[in-house]
């Protein structure tokens, strides 16, 4: 025997049933992250500005390494949000991809250091924006974190801390991609440390807040 309330609910839900597209989850991820990417880019443009030498920079190897590094992380992060949005979802593959990308970046940074005279090491590690780089990436990740949380709150993540971490990593890595259009640092070791740290801090913020914010 079912109580009347349950029967009423079933009748109501069946009455308002609409077909669901198989792409509905992906569409929500693209909408949420897409809109917050625009918000983050506008914030970067208004607050920090594009690097003035963008045209020249876009012919350099370093610009494209930063571009590729942050883009791979961003793709892996966005994909993680999609995967963890399902009950029973796992992001092990995505974490593996992100870790492998970071390891490759560290190896490239070490190679670059090896090819450089030791007295320039500190300059390559500190650049001239060491004080702001990680902080700026984390700030730029905030609109994206809100977007990623919005995506997940409408779906069904069942492990909230992991889901929060996925949202944070996606937000941090997309933010680092946005930031690379402002930042004019041109040393691999700098990017390998401070960009990566920005991504990880955003991931940590997501993991800590996720279990409260993502409840449904």
């Amino acid at each position: 025997m079912q109580p009347m309330m349950t029967n009423d609910l079933i009748a109501r839900l069946a009455g308002e049933l609409k077909p669901v597209s198989r792409l509905a989850v992906i569409r929500r991820v693209v909408t949420g992250l897409g809109l917050s990417l625009i918000a983050s880019a506008l914030l970067m443009w208004w607050w920090l500005g594009m690097r003035p030498d963008l045209a020249e920079a876009s012919t350099t190897m370093m610009f494209w390494s930063k571009f590729t590094y942050t883009l791979i992380l961003a793709a892996a992060g966005a994909w993680a949000v999609k995967r963890i949005a399902h009950p029973l979802g796992s992001i092990r593959v995505n974490i593996g991809l992100i870790a492998a990308t970071i390891v490759v970046m560290i190896i490239l940074a070490l190679v670059q250091l090896a090819l450089t005279p030791p007295e320039e090491y500190m300059a390559m590690l500190k650049g001239h924006t060491i004080r702001v780089c990680t902080f700026n990436i984390v700030v730029l990740s905030l609109p994206l974190l809100i977007g990623a949380f919005w995506v997940l709150r409408g779906l069904a993540p069942t492990r909230l801390t992991v889901a929060g971490a996925a949202a944070g990593l996606a937000a941090g890595s997309i933010a680092s991609f946005v930031y690379s259009f402002h930042c004019d640092e041109s040393a691999m070791p700098f990017v390998a440390i401070w960009y990566t740290l920005g991504v990880l801090v955003a991931g940590l913020i997501g993991a800590i807040t996720g279990r409260y914010i993502l409840r449904w």
Binding site: V20, H86, G154
Partner: protein, 185 residues
């Protein structure tokens, strides 16, 4: 071959395509399963919450139905949602009962989530039996139906139901022992 998974999955696929009649049947079936699921996992003092949990889970199924991936088992998806709702319920409950520090309820609520974890273990173990046997065991040992009832609704003889259950339980026991042996290593 009758199987809960095949039946519910077909209904779910029709529902996702917009078939309201299949959806009504699906929700009714699911509500019945959920009610048993929650009643068995709630302490006597909280049995009254079972219907709220059923309704909450049905709402969640409805609003989040897009997250069902059609190439995955429907029952696993539903179980994950029901389990999430149950754990969320325990969490909320515990926050409520921990307020008076020396309340025995606190310990009690803790015990409840352990019991729920045990139930989940049972279900995971059951997954290791073949699907047909799993259903027989579930209906007799967990839902408490009689051998005769199960035999009638599956079209099997009582003897073969008994034999299947016996073999299934032996397989599960063997698996349990295997696990214990692995843990020792």
């Amino acid at each position: 071959m009758h199987s809960v998974e095949t039946r519910l999955k077909a209904l779910m696929l029709a529902s996702l395509a917009g078939d309201a009649r299949s959806y009504g049947v699906l929700l009714n079936d699911v509500a019945r399963h959920l009610r048993i699921y929650f009643l068995r996992r709630l302490a006597d003092a909280h049995k009254g919450d079972a219907d709220d949990l059923v309704q909450e889970t049905l709402m969640a199924l409805h609003t989040r139905r897009a997250t069902y991936e059609v190439d995955r088992p429907f029952t696993a998806w539903l179980h994950a949602i029901a389990r999430y709702k149950l754990i969320d319920h325990f969490r909320r409950n515990r926050i409520r009962v921990t307020v008076p520090l020396d309340d025995a309820e606190d310990l009690f609520a803790q015990d409840q989530s352990d019991a729920a974890a045990d139930r989940m273990d049972v279900e995971r173990l059951l997954q290791s039996a073949p699907e047909r046997t799993r259903e027989l065991i579930y209906r007799t040992k967990i839902e408490g139906q009689s051998i005769a009832e199960v035999a009638e609704s599956t079209g099997l003889s009582e003897t073969s139901v008994k034999v299947s259950i016996h073999r299934g339980i032996r397989a599960i026991t063997a698996r349990l022992k295997g696990h214990a042996a692995n843990d020792d290593k």
